[in-house]
């Protein structure tokens, strides 16, 4: 069984169901996109960890993610997001959510003693 092929396929299908894939690159916010600033640090996301990131179904969004300390990750299997948040730059994650729900994301770059608990919530209404 090729686990990675199954995972990749699942990721693609999930992303497709949510009218994603999400993608991150240096492309700045585009007209019509709502910008949400997200700050990552050891060991939480703001917003995200204490207060969920709330999105509106059908409203294109870009998460402008920065880090206060070291490299972190922003990973959500359900939302098709797997990005490295690099210090010294703004990392843009573009989303176009079409399905309501509550989704968990977590830090995917090992960042220290609190890494395992570094996660957040995205709510699509």
């Amino acid at each position: 069984m090729q686990y990675s092929k199954i995972f990749s396929a699942a990721l693609f299908l999930t992303s497709s169901a949510l009218a994603l894939p999400a993608f991150a690159n240096s492309t700045p916010p585009q007209p019509g996109e709502v910008v949400i600033q997200v700050v990552a640090k050891q060991f939480d996301f703001t917003p995200g960890s204490e207060t969920p990131i709330t999105l509106k179904k059908g409203q294109p969004v870009v998460l402008a993610v920065t880090t206060q300390d070291r490299k972190h990750g922003f990973f959500s299997e359900e939302l098709g997001i797997d990005e490295v948040i690099t210090p010294g730059q703004v990392n843009y994650i573009h989303l176009n959510p079409t399905q309501v729900g509550t989704f968990t994301f977590h830090c995917s770059v090992f960042c220290g003693s609190g890494h395992d608990g570094m996660q957040g919530t995205i709510i699509i209404q």
């Binding site: 069984m1 990675s4 990750g73 990973f75 995917s108 770059v109 090992f110 960042c111």
Partner: protein
């Protein structure tokens, strides 16, 4: 029904009478612990001169401190060392598959823990002990401290006809092997015959067991693709703190228990959390593994041993 079919069924019955859990790979295999029983039943194959066994110890997490999870965390590594030293037959070598020490954000404390770990394992009787890092040892500083104590984070060695390849998927904190190391792996493998027995040691699973729990290697499939042309490959890894056997094609992947704390089965709970200590069953889920290697058959058997006080 062939003679081999009959012999194999008798063998499996004998194994079930023994202690511990045995995972068998290949054909014509006889675990060390069932050797006497198999011999008395007339099933024992002539032991080859090349047969040997090694011990896999994993996720020792020296420095871990949470009494609710392990109230004896300062003694556990010594307990494991004593257990292996107490074996009637010493292994040919011992392999530690990472997370030798528990995570610390302090560079100096990391070095203290690596030094303390080294001081304890120096008491192992076995003359050959091999190491590799886990993310707790190496991810915050790209392996810098680990290398000061134990040297290369990825390497290869041959022993009694088996090629052992140690792959580092932790020094990069994204949980990747990386382009340079993959190129090294490709070059290394190119020197092996396609039917040569190959054992890969790594810390994280090479396949995507559970990416939400960081139980994968981002470019692990590339490593698996490099290994696929070779017909006799087994992978031994750690990271997930439990025994699990998974196949990717013909390659078997065996994960090891930790000697410090256990983790839940993948996806069985919403969040990955260390399993609390049970005073009624101390050290439950913790242990180490003996691997009997039979290079002539390119086969291995795993015998799991619980950690006990």
């Amino acid at each position: 029904m062939t003679k081999n079919d009959v012999d194999r069924r008798k063998f499996l019955k004998l194994v079930g009478l023994g202690g511990g859990v045995v995972f068998a790979s290949g054909l014509g295999i006889y675990p060390r612990i069932a050797k006497a029983a198999a011999n008395s039943a007339g099933l024992l194959r002539t032991q080859a001169d090349s047969d040997f066994y090694f011990v896999q110890l994993s996720d020792t997490h020296l420095g871990f401190n949470n009494p609710l999870v392990n109230p004896n965390s300062d003694k556990t590594l010594q307990l494991a060392v004593d257990a292996v030293n107490g074996l009637d037959d010493q292994p040919d070598f011992i392999m530690f598959t990472g997370d030798l020490t528990d995570i610390t954000d302090d560079d100096q404390e990391r070095r203290k823990r690596l030094a303390a770990f080294q001081a304890i394992v120096k008491n192992l009787k076995c003359p050959m002990v091999k190491f590799m890092p886990g993310e707790h040892d190496a991810s915050l500083d790209n392996g810098a401290a680990y290398k000061e104590f134990f040297g290369d984070t990825f390497y290869t060695f041959d022993y009694k006809g088996i090629h052992f390849v140690v792959v580092d998927n932790v020094s990069d904190p994204t949980g990747s092997i990386g382009t340079a190391q993959l190129a090294w792996l490709k070059t290394t493998l190119s020197k092996f015959g396609t039917n040569d027995p190959i054992v890969v040691f790594t810390h994280r699973p090479l396949f995507p067991l559970n990416p939400n729990w960081d139980w994968w290697t981002k470019d692990g499939q590339q490593a698996i693709d490099l290994l696929m042309p070779y017909t006799n490959v087994s992978v031994f890894y750690g990271h997930i703190h439990q025994n699990l056997t998974v196949a990717t094609g013909h390659i078997q992947h065996y994960s090891a228990r930790s000697t410090m704390f256990a983790l839940p089965v993948s996806g069985s709970v919403p969040t990955k959390k260390q399993i609390p200590w049970d005073p009624a069953h101390p050290y439950a889920g913790l242990g180490y593994r003996e691997v009997t290697a039979m290079p002539d058959d390119a086969s291995y058997t795993n015998q799991e041993f619980p950690l006990q006080s």
